[in-house]
């Protein structure tokens, strides 16, 4: 073969570069519609024991609450003109508010979980066909009293899973200053919504994108979906912008305590093993759920905090004094004791702040009170009161300061990590 022609042929062969392989699309598979049920008919099938669907049947409905905000996980609420139901998904994701969908029932199970009727084991890829998008349902306006009405059996409650709006509601006073959920530990928390006559729980996931927001202090309208757990009715927020509590409260917040010139607290008004609620004091948990409680030491009530038997990865409890007007020469004295000391834990610290707003510890600047004698191991014995001494407060405040301030006592621990020292304080005197 001639060298040049060989070269030419081979060049052509090689330049016909490898083509990308194209695959055939699989034939379109459809889910038969079969018998069509309304949501009410679907709910009506349930008589107390789980029903697993096998044949061809479908329900048409609209998604009213999805997982987008993180408040719901593997739970999606659907509704048609006859009723509503919650779907529990095998895998998260894929359904959005306003989707008009057909649920092919084969493979799913209708069951009741803690009195809430649910369509379980829904696989979005296999059970859902989307018909249209952006056709949202409007919420139905109800009262808390209507929602709290008891139905027997519970699964006949027509409010279950409904998208509702309640007007004239507010979060109860004792919860103000807290956040919707525990975003630090990503734990779900119940809050209480009230119309000043009736109360209902609002359950918020620690994964929700609003978990770290403070509860609004006003009164107004609330939109959510209705859940139930045992005998408790629960509301779930689907979008935080639908919680519009900005009006005047029906249960007004009392005027804040005016700054005082001295504090002397012996906790005698407390009750053993009950969370402390002292006038003008602020007792709050900023991680986990533990707050300061009454503790009886030989019949004398003092304040105690502990993470013992707490399942939260972290517990932080604050006890904050009434607001004080600072005058030069003021000092703090108190006594402290501990029990069940855990090495490595720093359970207790005291602070002062000049900008605490009365509810939010996170936005205040805290200066640690140093130089005081606080009970600790091995310096002191357990179950033994240790006097702090007179601690002048001037050094922890700006030079020449004459404004108001608070003193805070903070407990830090962790049940799962074994940081469970019990820490007690008593006879707090600031003057």
């Amino acid at each position: 073969m001639n060298f040049r022609s060989t070269l030419a042929i081979l060049t052509l062969v090689v330049l016909a570069a490898a083509c990308k392989k194209e695959f055939d699309e699989p034939p379109v598979r459809t889910l038969p519609t079969g018998q069509v049920l309304t949501v009410a008919q679907l709910r009506g099938l349930f008589t107390g024991s789980p029903i697993r669907f096998r044949g061809d049947s479908s329900v048409f409905a609209v998604v009213t609450a999805d997982e987008q905000s993180g408040n719901l996980y593997k739970n999606v609420y659907i509704q048609d003109h006859t009723g509503a139901i919650v779907m529990r998904l095998v895998n998260p994701g894929g359904l959005y508010q306003g989707d008009s969908i057909r649920i092919y029932l084969a493979g799913t199970t209708l069951s009741s979980y803690q009195n809430l009727l649910q369509l379980d084991s829904v696989n979005v890829d296999n059970n859902v066909v989307k018909q249209a998008t952006l056709v949202p349902k409007q919420p139905t306006t109800v009262t808390i009293a209507q929602l709290n009405q008891t139905y027997t059996p519970a699964w006949t409650n027509p409010w279950q899973a409904k998208l509702i709006r309640i007007e004239g509601v507010e979060f109860i006073q004792s919860e103000l200053g807290t956040t919707y959920a525990d975003a630090v530990n990503q734990e779900t928390v119940n809050k209480t919504l009230s119309d000043c006559t009736n109360n209902i729980l609002v359950r918020n996931s620690g994964y929700a994108n609003f978990a770290s927001q403070q509860l609004p202090t006003g009164n107004g309208s609330f939109v959510g979906v209705v859940g139930q757990f045992g005998d408790d009715m629960q509301l779930f927020i689907r979008n935080i912008n639908e919680v519009q509590l900005t009006g005047d409260r029906c249960d007004p917040i009392p005027e804040p305590c005016p700054p005082t010139t001295n504090v002397a607290e012996d906790f005698a008004s407390g009750t053993s093993n009950v969370d402390l609620s002292l006038e003008c004091w602020f007792n709050v948990s900023t991680a986990g759920s533990r707050v300061w409680r009454g503790y009886s030491d030989a019949g004398q009530i003092c304040a105690q905090a502990t993470a013992f038997q707490s399942s939260s990865p972290s517990d932080v409890a604050w006890l904050i004094s009434p607001t004080l007007q600072f005058t030069p020469g003021m000092s703090l004295s108190m006594r402290t004791q501990y029990a069940f000391w855990v090495n490595g834990q720093v359970p207790f610290k005291a602070f002062v702040s000049t900008n605490f707003n009365g509810t939010n510890t996170a936005t205040a600047n805290w200066t640690e009170i140093t130089g005081a004698t606080f009970a600790n191991s091995p310096t002191h014995n357990f179950n033994t009161w240790v006097p702090s001494g007179q601690i002048p407060l001037d050094g922890f405040l700006p030079d020449g300061y004459t404004g108001s301030f608070v003193v805070a006592f903070r407990y830090t621990g962790s049940g799962p990590n074994g940081q469970t020292t019990n820490y007690r304080i008593d006879d707090v005197v600031i003057q």
Binding site: T6, T11, P26, I240
Partner: protein, 881 residues
């Protein structure tokens, strides 16, 4: 490994060397104590640093969210990509020079991923026609660029270790220069066909070269195709072409010009690695999770599409017999792509995702899984019997995509522009890294009087690598929306989720670019010089180089998570580095030589590891600095008619290196970036190679390489995510000192015999032994944060921190060949190699500890392993004239 008696005379065995203790909090204590004898030359003992004992470690509170376990999915660092390439690259290190140790390391140890002195490809400078061709951004030699051109690339000069070089300064691991000038290729035509059952099954190759013709022209052409519908591993495929053209014109006695162009379009369906549970369920250690059936046809999700042609124009100037001056201008461009699965608001489509394995439901295996024996039994049965459970179920992905109606509101940033259609939940994306590079290289060398030879050279190179993603296949859906799923949920702000803030809610379809779009620019200026002098019994050389390197990032997208740092040109990072080397060879007699080489050099950080997360931002690791290296070796060489061999001891210390890995985390639904600075490595060991001519026809070889390659510092780690500006942790101390460098056997040995018949045939057999193979340690498992909550005696501590060592193994290779001359003009040759003759399918030769781990259950994310191929062959018939 008992060696021939000769070896014992050279090396004093029994210098014991104890692995020091690694201590971890809360109190110093011994975690592991490994004792292994290391054969060390008495000559080098003094240079071996006594290994430090790692005893102090302050406990630090864990303030990050790292307790979430970690799982890698996409390995996207240079190291990982090239590790994948290396394993599947055909020509790579099979090219060896005449040194028996080097050639055995290439031919017999390559399949077990042996690397000479433990060095990765970055440490060897590869040049073609004198031009340095290692990728500027990763530092690696990309052998795939000229794969399939074996007929023309066989003329290469290879030196391992620090050595004199007349092409460049050379790397720590030596240099390879491939000469492809048309005049230097052997005249003739050569056609070959090979059959194999490895990555490919067929190879056809044609090469024709004219040699230097009377009219002063020389031409050469080569082309090949290598292909396999399915390779050794199920679901893999291979389709590669290669072409080469070279023309050279001798202008006069002093000048000649040559032009060379070559390239290799390669399409490859890749093999993936899995955990042992998946191998056991699938019933084979070659289970490949990357493929599945679509319409009854096997389809692989990890396809690579690679084609980077090179063009070169060389000028050769030879003013006199003692002088050479070669200058080459070159240009290379092309594509480098790898497809992979991507999904949005849907379940993980990969079949071996840990939640789809029975162990996830077996509490005895996984304390944090779910206790559901029924589910475990069902999954076990499905894995064993249903290929759609074990492999990707493509039909199901089409089914899900085809009915997911969705309306994108204000699509492409246009208010009121609503796009409705089936939004794909699952797609195939192609991640691209397309390089464009241009450069010039000029080297001058001259033999002076008094046996002195000098070499000088200078070069300039610039490279731009364009990184982006393209939609490869929407798998039955109509579009994909360019947003980040996790960010959408985590921030109550729809802009945060946008990958392109200048075109929000971007609707992308097949062939559209999405995700990220940026260039990494690199510039390199280099000059070097070398001096060689010979006496009758001594030769010495010395060399030096200086290099100035710059790199920066330039992004065309403004990312919603990093609006300030993602767009535009980043800061420019400049490094001045240098190297000094020297060595000597002494002739004891005409048959015995002693040589020594030493190098001190610095080198710039590799751009690919310097950026924390180049996909999303221009930030680099804090404290970027040059790497410092010193290395020395001492060799004894014998060359007698019956015995040829070499014995070497070497020591290398690399300091202030960088390390980075990115891995997919299913709970964050994003890539987590783990970067470390201050990574030191020590590589030391012994190399022995002997080739004995037993008779006129029989010869025998013995080769042993045993090393100790380990990390020698406590690097500091920075941990970030691709979708959140929050830094998980910075300055986290990694207690890595004295962990072994993984990824290759640290000990390999081979014994072989060969028969050469005077009747033009030969046959031989090699037995190979591999040992001291480790998995590279996952750094985060060796931190105070990982084990902080455990008491000293907790067995979890050992599970978390002990290094995974692979079992040693033996393989046997057989090779034979015969050739005939026909009419004194045509030559026909037949060669065959059978590797792993004993079909050892249980030999693990690689893998990695998963980056994701569960500190309370170290077994939950077990290592992934890869196995040496079982019995395989390569047989070739060549016709040449």
């Amino acid at each position: 490994m008992p060696g021939p008696g000769v070896l014992e005379g050279v090396f004093t065995a029994g210098t014991y060397f104890t692995m020091p203790h690694r201590a971890l909090p809360p109190v110093p204590r011994q975690l592991t104590e490994l004792r292994r004898p290391l054969f060390l030359s008495a000559l080098l003992v003094s240079t071996l640093l006594p290994a430090q004992i790692d005893t102090t470690l302050a406990t630090k509170p864990d303030t990050t969210r790292q307790e979430q376990p970690q799982l890698p999915v996409f390995t996207i660092t240079a190291d990982d990509l090239d590790a994948e390439l290396g394993a599947q690259d055909i020509s790579g290190i099979l090219q060896s020079s005449r040194d028996i140790y080097t050639s055995t390391a290439g031919f017999s140890f390559g399949s077990a991923r042996y690397r000479i002195r433990g060095y990765d490809s970055r440490n060897t400078q590869v040049s073609i026609n004198g031009v340095f061709v290692n990728d500027m951004e990763s530092g690696w030699a990309t052998w795939s660029q000229w794969a399939g051109l074996n007929d023309v690339t066989r003329y290469m000069e290879v030196r391992t270790g620090v050595s004199p070089s007349r092409y460049n300064f050379g790397g720590l691991g030596g240099y390879t220069d491939i000469n492809v000038r048309a005049s230097s290729l052997r005249k003739g035509i050569r056609v070959s066909y090979a059959s194999a059952n490895r990555a490919y099954r067929n190879r056809l190759m044609f090469t024709a070269s004219t040699g230097m013709r009377k009219d002063g022209w020389a031409f050469s052409f080569s082309g090949s195709r290598r292909w396999a519908e399915e390779g050794y591993v199920e679901g893999t495929s291979f389709d590669a072409w290669a072409y080469f053209l070279s023309a050279e014109k001798k202008i006069n006695d002093k000048h000649s010009l040559s032009f060379t162009a070559f390239g290799a379009p390669i399409v490859q369906g890749r093999q993936g690695v899995a955990i042992q549970e998946a191998y056991d369920l699938a019933g084979t250690n070659y289970y490949n999770p990357n493929w599945g059936y679509q319409n009854g046809e096997k389809r692989n999700a990890r396809m690579s599409f690679d084609h980077k042609p090179v063009l070169m124009l060389s000028h050769r100037y030879k003013p006199d017999a003692n002088t050479n001056w070669n200058t080459t201008l070159y240009y290379t461009f092309g594509r480098d792509g790898l497809t992979g699965m991507q999904w949005f608001d849907a379940q993980d489509p990969r079949p071996d995702y840990y939640r789809y394995l029975p162990s996830y439901y077996m509490p005895s295996l996984s304390v944090n899984g779910q206790n559901d024996p029924m589910m475990a039994a069902r999954l076990t049965s499905e894995w064993q019997n249903d290929v759609n459970r074990r492999q990707i179920n493509w039909d199901q992905l089409y089914f899900a995509n085809g009915k997911n109606l969705y309306t994108v509101q204000n699509a492409n940033g246009i208010a009121g522009n609503n796009v409705t259609g089936n939004r794909s939940k699952y797609i195939l994306e192609e991640q691209r890294a397309d390089p464009t590079r241009i450069g010039i290289n000029s080297v001058y060398d001259k033999a002076l009087a008094n046996n002195v030879h000098v070499t000088y050279g200078a070069s300039f190179h610039r490279q731009k690598t364009h990184y982006f993603k393209v939609i490869d296949d929407l798998l039955g859906g109509d579009f994909w929306v360019d947003v980040d799923q996790f960010a959408e949920r985590d921030f109550n702000d729809s802009l945060t989720a946008q990958n392109d803030l200048d075109q929000i809610n971007k609707v992308v379809r097949e062939g559209d670019m999405f995700g990220y779009d940026f260039d990494i620019h690199t510039r390199l200026y280099n000059a070097f010089g070398q001096y060689e002098k010979k006496w009758s019994h001594l030769e010495v050389y010395g060399g030096a180089e200086v290099t100035y390197t710059s790199f920066w990032r330039d992004s065309r997208l403004r990312n919603g998570r990093f609006p300030e740092q993602s767009f535009g040109t980043s800061e420019m990072h400049n490094f001045f580095t240098y190297g000094l080397k020297g060595g000597a060879v002494g002739k004891l007699t005409g048959r015995h030589f002693i040589s020594a080489n030493v190098v001190w050099m610095t080198r710039p950080p590799i751009p690919r590891t310097a950026f924390i997360s180049p996909r999303t931002r221009g930030e680099v690791i804090d404290g970027l600095t040059t790497e410092k290296i010193w290395s020395g070796d001492l060799n004894y060489i014998v060359r007698s008619p019956r015995l040829k061999g070499r014995a070497t001891v070497y020591y290398t210390r690399m300091s202030d290196g960088l390390w980075s890995r990115s891995f997919y985390h299913d709970e964050y639904r994003t890539l987590v970036n783990y970067t470390m600075t201050g990574v030191d490595q020590v590589h030391q060991g012994v190399e022995l190679g002997l080739e004995a001519k037993l008779s006129a026809t029989w010869s025998a070889t013995a080769v042993l390489g045993t090393g100790d390659f380990r990390y020698a510092s406590r690097p500091e780690a920075t941990i970030t995510r691709d979708n959140n500006p929050e830094v998980f942790d910075a300055g986290r101390t990694v207690y890595w000192e004295n962990y072994k460098v993984g990824g290759m056997p640290q000990t390999a040995a081979s014994l072989g015999v060969r028969y050469n018949s005077p009747k033009f045939w030969f046959a031989g057999v090699n037995a190979n032994y591999f040992d001291d193979m480790y998995l590279d340690p996952n750094p985060d498992r060796r931190t105070a944060e990982a084990i902080g909550n455990y008491v000293e005696s907790d067995p979890q501590v050992a599970l978390l921190t002990d290094q995974t060592k692979l079992d040693p193994g033996v393989t046997v290779d057989l090779f034979l060949g015969k050739s005939w001359m026909i009419k004194r003009q045509y030559r026909v040759a037949v060669n065959a190699t059978i590797s792993n003759l004993l079909n050892n399918t249980d030999l693990r030769v690689g893998g990695f500890e998963q980056s994701r781990y569960d500190r309370t259950d170290a077994n939950r994310f077990p290592p992934k392993y890869s196995y040496l191929f079982g019995r395989n062959y390569f047989a070739m018939v060549t016709f040449s004239f």
